[in-house]
């Protein structure tokens, strides 16, 4: 009974937390606490098989499934506070409180009598006892659940399946498309310059320096640029470096005016004209 009085407030608090959590991930974690506490309560009530099943199936499998779907949908998908039906939230809370009051009062007034306890029923062990019942009296229900599980698995496969509308692009088709982009829009044909090559630092957030000493914008990931995580590598930095190397005159970069960050020619730096490539500019992708 000690376990109950410790766990019951925790469970109620966590269940209320599910109601008020803004983010779905927090709700899932609070639900995990409730489910593990329930498992402990099963163990207290001499149901060791259900204790294990609760932890493995519920907290192990079902909650992980919830978390997977949350990751797919997007962790930041928080609840909207806009009510589509006016006063629905208030009404639901009031009705729910009334329902809970009636339920708690009604259940609390039922006298269950002295608990028989499961010592005699669990005499041959809890799992053999459950198996005895499951495969004798509840055999048809058991077979029906097997059919249900198979149907659910097939249903999930059907729902998750997506038919391909366009044929998968082959490598040859992609090469042809790349050349056509180069001819039409001037997209860079070869690999992009690697970051940090001739720059002061050899890091992904440092743009490469062109031979004239100007930083090349296309050498760093666009994600880093958008986050503002770029480190500047000014030409003077190279000056000091070459100066410290001694014999600075032979390495002195010549500043020249011209297009920055791109190889000369019709191909401008890979800019926002290519929106379907925007999500590919992750660092470490290999083309940089």
């Amino acid at each position: 009974m000690v376990a109950f009085w410790i766990l019951a407030p925790i469970m109620v608090a966590c269940a209320l937390g599910i109601l008020f959590a803004r983010k779905a991930v927090h709700a899932a974690l609070l639900l995990a606490v409730v489910m593990i506490s329930l498992a402990v309560l099963y163990a207290v009530q001499s149901a060791p098989f259900l204790f294990v099943v609760q932890i493995i199936v519920y907290t192990g499998a079902i909650l992980m499934l919830f978390l997977f779907v949350l990751m797919l949908v997007g962790v930041d998908a928080s609840d909207s506070v806009v009510e589509t039906i006016r006063g629905q939230r208030l009404m639901a809370t009031v009705v729910g409180l009334l329902f809970g009051l009636v339920l708690v009062l009604g259940v609390g007034q039922v006298s269950l009598g002295a608990a028989t306890g499961l010592t005699s029923a669990n005499q041959a062990g809890n799992v053999p006892g459950l198996a005895q019942l499951l495969f004798s009296r509840y055999i048809f229900a058991f077979e029906a659940t097997s059919a249900l599980l198979i149907t659910a698995a097939i249903g999930a496969m059907v729902l998750a399946h997506r038919e391909r509308l366009t044929p998968k692009p082959t490598q040859a088709a992609m090469a042809v498309q790349r050349l056509r982009d180069y001819a039409d829009k001037g997209t860079q044909l070869g690999p992009l310059p690697a970051p940090g090559v001739f720059a002061r630092h050899n890091a992904v957030d440092t743009p490469a320096l062109l031979p004239d000493g100007t930083p090349s914008e296309i050498s760093v990931s666009r994600t880093l640029t958008a986050r503002g995580n770029l480190r500047t590598a000014p030409a003077s930095d190279v000056d000091t470096l070459t100066g410290s190397m001694g014999d600075g005159t032979s390495y002195r970069p010549v500043t020249r005016s011209g297009p920055r960050g791109a190889i000369d020619g019709p191909h401008a730096p890979r800019a926002d004209t290519d929106p379907d490539r925007a999500d590919r500019s992750e660092p470490g992708e290999g083309t940089r």
Binding site: M1, F4, V12, A15, I18, L19, A21, A24, A27, A28, L31, L41, Q45, S46, A47, F49, L50, Q54, Y58, I62, L65, F66, V69, L72, V73, A77, S78, D79, S80, Q88, R89, A92, V95, G96, G100, L103, V104, V107, G108, L112, G113, A115, T116, G117, L118, S120, A121, G129, L130, L133, L134, Y138, A141, T145, L149, A152, A156, L159, A160, R162
Partner: protein, 99 residues
């Protein structure tokens, strides 16, 4: 060890779950609240099993768990399908049958 506190706790959890289903907009959170209600009923079943001294309640709780597993698989697949077409997991956005 009386069974009444367990039943009261189960009733409270069931109520919280039902209020959550009514108020939350996010389909996944509403689904979690359904799971909470199922778990609360499981607690009541296990308590009844102990007070009556036979294992039938535990078998019933076991079946509830199986059905809950199947339901979660299908429900989450449906939520994913809706999210794929609508880019939203809100239960309010899936109201196209209404108009």
């Amino acid at each position: 060890m009386s069974g009444t506190p367990f039943l009261v706790l189960s009733a409270i959890l069931f109520t919280i779950g039902s209020v959550g289903v009514l108020t939350r907009r996010n389909a996944i959170v509403a689904f979690m609240c359904v799971e909470l209600m199922l778990n609360a009923s499981n607690l009541a079943l296990v308590t009844f099993s102990r007070t009556n001294g036979n294992l039938d309640g535990q078998v019933a709780a076991f079946f509830v768990m199986v059905v809950a597993a199947a339901e979660v698989v299908i429900g989450l697949a449906i939520i994913m399908t809706i999210f794929r077409t609508r880019r939203s997991a809100s239960v309010d956005d899936a109201s196209l049958l209404k108009y």
